[in-house]
């Protein structure tokens, strides 16, 4: 299979580049449907390693790259279950998303996130697993989880620690403020900041450049310079689950889920 067109995402392998397009309204919130389709994607990703050199992930939604976890679904599901079962469900959800993101992080392909607009929470974490982030100048990055009494749960903290100085990580996490693309480039996370509407075009040009290099050499270089912080990723899941059991989280999620604002993740 060299292409797939699902309800929340689609992908296609063409000229050695896999393009994974997110297209779930309003802003690619990652719930069970997206997770199912991402899991399907990573099962075929392994088979592409000899036929592809790069993976480009982008969004077809105008609002942005990805607003993170589908917190409304998470809240609804947690309300339908006994507390013990809800806690188990959250852990299972995190384990599954971690398997997906770890697979992309460790893929021998060179991976590029072409981002624009809202790149929040789990969306930021999805970008962080990629080797390169190419950002539209109007992109905005944020970890708003503390507002809900949580920490990022898709591997954000270990990957931020891998890639950034600790002071910047504290700023992002503890203030919950959003950074624009220029700031994120200044701190070292974003590879290129491009004009509005141009991130996919530049990502494609970058992917084409990768074709000039020997694949095995590129994969060896990536493996050498980009360790996967597995132990800390496990710890993050544990901390998230401990926090999720706190009453303040349920109150925060309820407020979020019951908000009539279609984009309650915004400040």
């Amino acid at each position: 299979m060299e292409s797939f067109d699902g309800q929340s995402l689609s992908w296609e392998l063409k000229d050695g580049v896999i393009e994974l397009a997110l297209h779930r309204a309003p802003c690619n919130e990652i719930g069970s449907l997206t997770l199912d389709e991402l899991e399907q994607f990573i099962t075929v990703l392994e088979g592409f390693k000899d036929g592809a050199r790069a993976l480009v992930i982008y969004s077809e939604m105008k609002a942005g790259f990805c607003a993170g976890a589908d917190l409304r679904e998470l809240y609804q599901q947690s309300q339908e279950l006994e507390p013990k079962d809800a806690a188990r469900g959250v852990r299972d959800y995190l384990e599954r998303i971690h398997r997906v993101l770890n697979a992309i992080d460790a893929s021998p392909l060179t991976t590029i996130a072409a981002v624009h607009g809202v790149t929040f929470g789990g969306g930021f974490e999805l970008a962080l697993v990629c080797d390169l982030i190419i950002a539209d100048k109007m992109a905005r990055f944020c970890f708003p989880e503390l507002r809900l009494g949580l920490i990022p749960g898709f591997g954000g903290i270990p990957r931020l620690k891998r890639d950034l100085g600790n002071a910047v990580v504290r700023d992002l996490l503890l203030t919950g403020r959003s950074f624009n693309a220029t700031k994120v480039q200044q701190v070292g996370l974003v590879s290129q900041v491009v004009a509005e509407g141009q991130s996919l075009k530049v990502a494609r040009a970058t992917a084409a450049q990768l074709g000039k290099f020997d694949r095995r050499t590129a994969a060896a270089a990536k493996k050498f310079i980009k360790p996967i912080p597995y132990e800390e990723l496990r710890r993050e899941i544990d901390i998230f689950c401990e926090l999720f059991a706190q009453p303040a989280v349920e109150a925060g999620l309820r407020k979020f889920a019951e908000s009539e604002d279609p984009r309650p993740y915004l400040p």
């Binding site: 609002a63 607009g117 809202v118 100048k137 109007m138 905005r140 944020c142 203030t175 919950g176 403020r177 959003s178 950074f179 624009n180 220029t182 700031k183 604002d261 984009r263 915004l266 400040p267």
Partner: protein
């Protein structure tokens, strides 16, 4: 803090141009959500444009509850 007229003018000019609203319809004490007809996502877009225009960082938590150009200008002026 006295807000220089120029800062206020630049904010309203930028907002009018980007959101295609006649400049003469905007006044400093307008609720810009209403006069520009924007939602919270577009407000975030305006914030990013203002950061680029003034070459500043403006944490979004400073704008919570801010909905008029004059107060917005005050927040920006504090970072120039």
């Amino acid at each position: 803090m006295t807000i220089p007229k120029q800062t206020l003018e630049e904010i309203m000019n930028l907002a009018a141009t980007h959101f295609k609203v006649p400049r003469e319809k905007l006044t400093p004490d307008d609720d810009f959500f209403k006069t520009l007809g924007i939602d919270s996502l577009q407000a975030l877009d305006l914030l990013t444009r203002l950061e680029h225009h003034f070459h500043i960082e403006l944490p979004d938590y400073e704008l919570q509850g801010v909905s008029d150009f004059r107060t917005l200008a005050d927040r920006i002026q504090a970072r120039l």
